[in-house]
Subunit: 444 residues, 2 copies
Amino acid sequence: MIPETSVLLTDLYQLTMLQTYHTEGMQETAVFDLFARRLPPERGFLLAAGLEQALDYLENLHFTPEELDWLAGCGRFDSRFVDSLAKFRFTGTVHALPEGTVFFANEPILRVTAPLPQAQLVESRLINLIHYQTLIASKAARCALAAPGKLLVDFGLRRAHGAEAGLLAARAAYLAGFGGTATVLAGMRFGIPLFGTMAHSLIQAHDCEETAFEHFAAAQPSNVVLLLDTYDTEAAARKLIPLAARLQARGIVIKGVRIDSGDLAEHTRRVRHILDEGGLDRITIFASGDLDEYRLQSLLAEGAPIDGFGIGTRLDASTDAPTLELVYKLQEYAGRPRRKRSEGKATWPGRKQVYRRLTTDGTFAEDYLGLETSPQPGEPLLRPVMLDGKRLSLESLDTVRQRVRTQLAALPPALRANQTVPTYPVSIAPELHELTDQLDREVH
Amino acid sequence: MIPETSVLLTDLYQLTMLQTYHTEGMQETAVFDLFARRLPPERGFLLAAGLEQALDYLENLHFTPEELDWLAGCGRFDSRFVDSLAKFRFTGTVHALPEGTVFFANEPILRVTAPLPQAQLVESRLINLIHYQTLIASKAARCALAAPGKLLVDFGLRRAHGAEAGLLAARAAYLAGFGGTATVLAGMRFGIPLFGTMAHSLIQAHDCEETAFEHFAAAQPSNVVLLLDTYDTEAAARKLIPLAARLQARGIVIKGVRIDSGDLAEHTRRVRHILDEGGLDRITIFASGDLDEYRLQSLLAEGAPIDGFGIGTRLDASTDAPTLELVYKLQEYAGRPRRKRSEGKATWPGRKQVYRRLTTDGTFAEDYLGLETSPQPGEPLLRPVMLDGKRLSLESLDTVRQRVRTQLAALPPALRANQTVPTYPVSIAPELHELTDQLDREVH
């Protein structure tokens, strides 16, 4: 099942620490923040995604009898501790940025408030779930910004890192502005629109390319998109002129063509010309093959007559920035702020809030990272989404898609660019500096 | 469940093509090869992995009633075609390189021989499964070559791309020479050795670092590995001298320490010195934090006194080369060789075999890609692994690990290096050139 629900999808040290907390009776309330330590140099902003799956995970968290048996028999844990896990549930509170919200470095995008063992155990999988969809939604948003008005389709399942990545990439790309995906399971599970054409193998399995086109069109008359580049792209385009006439006589219309190799700008121009000359100017051209936001931008800048793009490998693996430095850090325990001071990895303590300030025309002006107890001007971004282990509401993908459109429209123009961009201003409240200094004097 | 088993984890075009094959009665035998079009510039060799999960997938492939209902209701497929899928099973034959075999560009690592619809439908998920584990095993082998004799542990779950990636990265890294993983589920499902220490949050949740160490040691007396860099790494190391004496009085031994931030070469040298001076020379030092084969090599070249490494994000996402150009292409249908001629993506037709030739001392000398019908000198690498839909045998991870050790020892020294390496010679048989030319004259 995707997403995977096993509670043992966690790091061993979480269980080791839980045994310590069990032995020491450390069950008081902990507060953890999930945030990006810094943005990859290739990213000017990130788009929060994956909250729905994270809340599913928290709501369903439990140890199965089989898992408890395995833990009891693995020789690492004492039996009273393992017995105590039979009743383990997540009963905490979660605040988060709604999916589709733009965010920047050091801003908490999710905050867990729960008894220490509960808040600790969920670290590995919470990061895993939020990290991947945030990574892909952020990449997909860049593609959408690079190709306004074009149909973008996720083609990445085959080189996504495993099944869950393939399925959740389809969701993340769709919420960030893609038109749909080729991954069938994403259509069934999430209701995401599906797109698909044909592979080269269908052409190759026939002795004649034109026969292959005709067979395919007859079997799928409502969605005829033909792949042109198995042998010779322009020769294939010329075959469509007589074929279109024959198909029309049977009531079948060729909707589009796809080109998947070679110089896409050059081939699409030539194919557009061939089709237009042959009276087939309503056939759309779809391009694929090693595409990403950089290639989209340059193809469109060259004036390539492309109506839609299939974006696969470089989207689903976010190849120019394949990971984000998302971390989950303890900020408070038993009513007292906490922080780490590790070199290059120090954190801000306490319960925080992000306040977003806009210019008069609605563009993002500045974010302010402060303490929740000192409200500030601007819109507070963290909202309660789970109370006592129960989720408060569920947003539709349409609602999230609408939010993304609004958010991307409010980005300062420099942050929308593909190229390396200036850092968005996130101010740190003076109270946070004070709290940090005070804490550093006390903790040894 | 991991791996995911749904047959709808595929691209829409596979089903679209299957409907065409159903309509046209195209059910004859197809032969598809899975191979790497080229290696990333950062890789001199790849290590085949993921075959076990691929064969699991093929053996269990079927449409559930719920999936058939969804397909029937989605408006894309005719009802006779959907009805025909109820009986769909994979009944074909598979040849493959055993897991843990080194391979290079253009060499088939898996060949499927099955009725065309069966061989076609499985493309997306077969690539997805083989691609990811091959990617990670290849990266892990490079880490093992960079740090001979050191304990390497997979720490990557949290930033792996989803649950399945996290779990299968643990397997791929282990078969390639890692000592184990932190991912608990990989211990339960695959019997992979588990390793784990503590997080900074355990230290932070206490008001005093030394008390945190002592509580942790008392709760886990058999596996005491203490994390030193929450506040001040060297100060924490100095606290171990009195602590070790107190713990020893209770029969508890500190096994190791972990350092996760800052200049690891410098900190590990200082900590080693502090521990040795304090008579704690048997405590081992484990390092983690943004590590990969390049960092391992430079830390060891600097003489950093590190006994083991936790390798996370950069392993599980293979960040320097996050995808491979693995493809699955039709090479024969209905007894006739096939190929595509797309620019930059042309393929070799026919049923092929890879022959590996060794020097007299057992080092890899050259591979020869020929037709199966013309046996050649050298060891044929593709072996039958599934017949009529039934797997022929199952290898233990220990067998695969042993193979990897043998294979890596036989690599030409230049190919073991981390840096960009010369291309390993793979010769193409003259018969393959002839078959290709002949085919290009016939197919239009």
